[in-house]
Symmetry: none
Subunit: 537 residues, 2 copies
């Protein structure tokens, strides 16, 4: 049974977004939050409303658009400014205005930072904590205090670091999270400090841990803190974060559940979620952050359960548990070397069933489809985020061919700029195709080549298939797959289309970005028409 | 003073080479070994002579070609086969023939592996250890025994696991390394087992630790073992290895030296080496393995000391040590300020100083530059990953204009496909520009429009600027910025170029992907020429 008093607190959307190369839009955040909820975290820190305009918008839209099952949204901010009152501080006010039920305020607990960075007195800093927490409690918020630079501060002036934590609890904070902000701690040091603090705050106080990975020990530091009495862990999906990143929340929860026997993720009976979805959710979020997944990532990495064939191959086949630290199925991953065919088939069969096809009754189709999926994936395709392309592949294997709504004769896209820097470029595309018994030539313009191709294709088909009028492209993602070949690299394009009610995703791959986009565009059109029950004309 | 009794044992060339995607030639190994020696490790495990033909060759050539200052080469192999004698076992014989002064033999210590994988009796396995070690000692070799699956075996049958270790020591092994072969241990478990074993083997026996990172705790597990009494640590550079990899030896030694005050790397007075070369050596080895460096890697990663939050920039300037867990110079890395949308004047000033411009003396330039950076970022630019574009902006503000190496009249890119699905598309680009007093028209082909434009631009300029011949595009990243507008969205392109010695990144932004790519391509060319001291011709 999951321990309801233990907090799994995710800060991917706030501290994770500090990572070099991550720049999340409001839409990205609105797409990531439900995945975190599905995983079963208890808290999702969404950003800093008031300080960052797009975070203000996120909380506004989240209140209307998100329907979270397990998690509460937390707004992040800081204690009030020195020499003011919390009630008059617009930054604190914005946290209340965000309407998040949980507010997390960062507070200084290292006396050097109080004096040199905040430039105020140690006493005023304590007053800022007391005043801010008291105000937020009075406004009906649950309050978490992040004690910034806590471990470094403890080393310099333990009494002051303790005083900051005690001030927060006395003012009504539900949790004080001890932050290794600079990330240089080692597990034994963390344990020692947490044990000391536990003795001072009393058994009822909830302490938390917020670790960074600068010494390569963020996960171990978090576990050491839990074993020393912390009941609240902060981290980010895939360990995203500034510098070396935050504690990878995925490794933390997997270790807690699988190694230490502490179920901490919320689960709804009969609803997919929890640890078994760990790998899928990790990869889905990496698509949204557009950060390539790290193959060696514990538990969820593509290589995490991959064995190089060799010495032990036959022994692994007989007794896989002798060669893996945990069953990869428990975290939704696969042992790749020996069971990959079986596991692949099983998940493809499952996927087929979700789409309404019983492939178990057609083992030959299942085998061919599994082969094609594996072959495509080896060439850079991903079907994880492109259900519609997967379904077209499945339809092709089940029905012998994919639906032919049109036959393309040729297409061409031209981008040109006549002038120097500052002159706008123009894009134009021509599509020649056959549909509804005619040959159609259509030219479209756009602000880029893919946009122009989309316009030309849509315009060409609209007369024959007026149903297309409802379709709209809502997302377009590009990933370069092989980092070492510059513009020679293979490109993967993911396209998401909506008809106003449902949305679907398709994938295209190739060395030529425009060609890959064309593949995803045409697949999107075909899937949409088929989904609407339109027969080829 | 470095502790001469403590062993830093590198297995990059053997266990690290098990990583998916790594395939080291003999020449690669001969190039990596001197770098490990320079770092100051005591042992370099070179491979498995006899079992792997290229490893046999490596040891043969290493004996003649390598001149190691600090490290001894270790040959890796296994205990003899069941039911034979070590002296008659060709695999054991090959270890002696390698002429390595140190031989490391892997031995089973998990009774389940003895019975199910080795298919022999527990007693025969102990005899194999005794016989093999005795033989190798008699041949004059220093012997390390890797106790495979030791921790898993200890959990199942501690007495047998201990017996395997004791058999090795009794036969004359210098070190027994305890292997967490499946990588699932946590630090507290490691500590407990090592403490137990220490009590059984006596104070003179040297125990070692060999950790894998499957629970994300390999570094912490290694440190826990050291604190519990191990005096020999095994690991790999950059944490290379099968599945999630081995313990990252770089993090292990940096933590031991900087956090625990135990100098463990060999140093030769007056010769560069040791921890100060950590970052350079990590990157040099990643060039040889052809595995892209992981930006978030502790101590040596490109992001390891990079700060984004503008919030603290002014404080960082005054007191950098408040914001870093260690001085990056101690591991040969740099503190880097990322210019991001949270950045203010202070971080831009700091960034300027890193590039060699003192903007504090030019407050008007600093103000204009800050304004332009913020303005550009609001339009989708990011300079945190595009130092070269930032520098061109800075140069423009400081010198009044950016260098004019060429003047573009027009460019055009065409992508077309004449045929249906499966027919390949072609890409062609034409560039018209003025440089070196002439008007140049150049056409390039490529596998995509950006590739074709890159070829056309390069070809146009090469006659006037032959320096361009060394430049090569090595990375191309595309990001769609506003998720909700499909192909109408704004696109950001990041390009990385190298001249073989240094590499630089530029950014381009716009609704048109090709136009954004063109901007990044031309900026890259301009920065590169300027960096090489080339004057506009």
């Amino acid at each position: 049974m999951t321990d309801p008093t233990f907090h799994v607190y995710d800060t991917t959307l706030r501290d994770g977004a500090q990572q070099e190369g991550i720049n999340l839009s409001v839409a990205d955040k609105l797409a990531i939050a439900p995945l975190l909820d599905e995983l079963g975290v208890g808290f999702i820190e969404g950003g800093w409303p008031g300080a960052v305009p797009k975070d203000t918008e996120f909380f506004k839209r989240a209140a209307k658009e998100l329907d979270l099952r397990n998690a509460e949204l937390a707004a992040f901010g800081a204690t009030r400014k020195p020499g003011t009152r919390a009630v008059d501080d617009p930054q604190v006010r914005a946290l209340v205005d965000s309407e998040a039920s949980v507010v997390t305020v960062v507070a200084k607990s290292d006396v050097r930072h109080v004096e040199r960075a905040l430039r105020t007195t140690p006493d005023e800093n304590l007053a800022m904590i007391t005043d801010t927490v008291t105000f937020l409690r009075r406004e009906g918020r649950r309050v978490v205090v992040d004690a910034e630079h806590f471990f470094d501060g403890f080393a310099v002036d333990a009494a002051y670091a303790r005083a900051a934590v005690l001030a927060a609890f006395e003012a009504g904070a539900e949790v004080v999270a001890l932050c290794d902000t600079n990330g240089g701690m080692l597990p034994d040091q963390v344990r020692e400090v947490v044990l000391d603090l536990r003795a001072h705050v009393g058994p009822a106080a909830v302490l938390g841990m917020h670790a960074h990975n600068d010494s390569g020990c963020a996960v171990a530091n978090t576990l050491a803190a839990v074993e020393a009495g912390c009941a609240h862990v902060q981290g980010t999906v895939n360990g995203y974060g500034e510098r070396t990143g935050n504690a990878d929340l995925l490794s933390v929860v997997a270790n807690l559940e699988l190694k230490l026997g502490r179920p901490v993720l919320a689960r709804t009976e009969g609803v997919p979620g929890g640890l078994a979805e760990l790998t899928r959710i990790a990869h889905a979020i990496s698509e949204l952050t557009n950060i390539s997944p790290f193959a060696r990532q514990p538990y969820v990495g593509a290589s995490a359960f991959a064995h190089k064939a060799g010495l032990h191959a036959s022994a692994i086949k007989v007794d896989p548990d002798l060669y893996q630290h945990t069953d990869p199925g428990l975290v939704g991953n696969d042992m790749r070397m020996l069971v990959s065919d079986m596991a692949g088939r099983a998940s493809i069969e499952l996927k087929g069933r979700q789409l309404g096809y019983d492939l178990a009754e057609h083992p030959d189709v299942l085998a061919r489809l599994t082969h094609r999926v594996k072959d495509s994936e080896a060439n850079g395709y991903t079907f994880e985020a492109a259900d519609a392309s997967f379904e077209l592949l499945l339809v092709e294997e089940v029905e012998g061919r994919r639906p032919t709504y049109f036959r393309v004769e040729s297409w061409r896209a031209i981008v040109e700029r006549n002038g120097g820097r500052g002159t706008p470029a123009t894009a134009e595309a021509t599509v020649k195709l056959h549909a509804g018994g005619e040959r159609i030539v259509s030219t479209g313009e756009g602000n880029g080549p893919v946009n122009a191709l989309d316009h030309a294709l849509r315009q060409a088909l609209l007369r024959v298939y007026p149903e297309l009028g409802e379709f709209e492209l809502i997302d377009f993602k590009v990933r370069i797959l092989d980092q070492m070949h510059g513009t020679d690299a293979v490109t993967r394009v993911l396209i998401e289309t909506t008809d106003g009610e449902t949305s679907w995703s398709t994938v295209g791959v190739g060395p030529n970005l425009i060609e890959a986009s064309w593949e995803a565009l045409t697949d999107s059109t075909i899937w949409g028409l088929r989904h609407h029950g339109v027969a080829p004309r």
